[in-house]
Symmetry: none
DNA sequence: CTTATGCTGTCAATCAAGTGTCATGTGCGT
DNA sequence: ACGCACATGACACTTGATTGACAGCATAAG
């Protein structure tokens, strides 16, 4: 029956592929836009039955499945995924509307690996996508980010600089995480609000400054170098000179 | 967890293999999904007679056998397993419908190592699977979890900290067990509900807090360090710094 | 059968940590 | 030196975690 598990034929050297099955166009676009920004290859599908075809011919590395779908429900798609050997272990994230169903997704033994209740924040969903991919393909998504003497571990949610442990609040942690994913790259305050906070519109851009300040205070001890670079008029970046010298 | 599986030859260095013989598709899937999540390699079979063929050619490390089966009954399969030298000691768990003591007795008389009455909770079944595998292949599944001055023995269900015995309720025991299996790793409340309470539990996430609180109270005596770390906004983890320093 | 006992899940009050805004200070770039 | 962008400390506020009390159950004991 399911003897030899051939290595997932998709993506050996390419970026992880994500299939988004969501009928609400706006949401689908929002997701694929953000996933692509993270470097994933995204395919979008609207109907449950189409998704099944797609999943049969070229299984991706992860599926984001809406609960309510035209054609075949997300629930049913997921169940069938679990029934096939080829997709038995394929990571699945379910999107559910707020309400009764929400709590039952976990209860129902559908076999989704994770579920997210709408409305959700983009950073939250991204975190879960990465967490699942990390579990499935550890070589693609690192659990540890290292830059210079900074080590950030997502699994244990620990940070250390030059060996010593540093405690950060959730926001500062995510902020640093985001900066460390692309060391040297400059992010505008708007971009940071989008990808770290998620509900950009409500928050003053100056708030980013404050958090960067707090992050610096936590990171720098004594005569240590400031790992965050301010780019006047543009934004912030992790100082990539930290990595080399 | 779901790494790439090598060939299936009767498990010398690979993950333990489990054969699920169950005709009810939903249940069969639920089981295989959860078993795979625990790192086992699972094969599913629906009919009793097919199971016999399978068991003859490539015996797994453990069999989960439904009582009622098309083809040959689970009872009969079990009896025949016991008759053959090659499978005499193969661990067998029988699934029986709710009810009669008589059946249980017969099941055990036939040589099943354990039986579980439907409906059962997933964590419960998983615990029994692990217990049996541990007995059969002690090198594969550790009976004792040790982290710092904490020693948790699954066989005797005993826990000790720095030598002294500590009594825990079932839930707190499983909770600690789960945390100790991956020291340092942060589990969200939702994940803990899934793997400690089991699917089909519609339980408030705050309940996890309460149990963690109780666990702490039981664990910490005097000035001892709290072995459980709260990660605000994320969940809980066993404090892995306990292990080193 | 009734009464203890132990365990669990929920709730509400309390406590602590983290967050966003503002006012003010500083320093960079020209 | 000037102006503007950024830095920072203080503050009120929000959110999340802890804790103790309680009620429902199941089980064991009387």
């Amino acid at each position: 029956m399911n003897e030899i598990r051939a290595t997932q034929r998709s993506s050996t050297n390419t970026a992880p592929r994500v299939l988004v099955v969501e009928d609400e166009a706006a949401l689908s676009l929002l997701l694929s836009y953000n996933l692509e920004a993270e470097g994933f290859i995204v395919e979008r599908i609207e109907r449950g039955d189409e998704a099944e075809l797609k999943l049969e011919e070229t299984p991706p590395d992860l599926v984001i499945l809406d609960w309510m779908l035209p054609g075949v429900s997300g629930l049913e798609v997921c169940r069938r995924l679990r029934a096939r050997d080829a997709t038995r272990t394929l990571p699945v994230i379910m999107l559910t509307a707020r309400g009764e169903e929400a709590e039952r997704v976990r209860g129902l033994a559908v076999g989704a690996d994770d579920y997210v209740v709408k409305p959700f924040s983009i950073p939250e969903l991204m975190a879960r996508v990465k967490a699942l991919l990390r579990r499935a393909k550890p070589e693609r998504i690192a659990a540890q980010l290292v830059a210079g003497d900074l080590e950030l571990d997502r699994e244990t949610r620990r940070l250390r600089r030059a060996g010593r442990a540093i405690h950060l609040g959730p926001t500062e942690f995510r902020l640093l995480e985001h900066l460390m994913e692309k060391p040297g790259r400059v992010f505008s305050r708007g971009q940071l609000l989008d990808s770290v906070w998620g509900m950009s519109a409500e928050i003053d851009e100056r708030t980013v400054d404050v958090h960067v300040g707090r992050l610096r205070k936590a990171l720098v001890r004594g005569r240590e170098k400031d790992p965050i670079r301010t780019v006047r008029g543009a934004g912030y970046s992790l100082d990539e000179t930290l990595i080399r010298g």
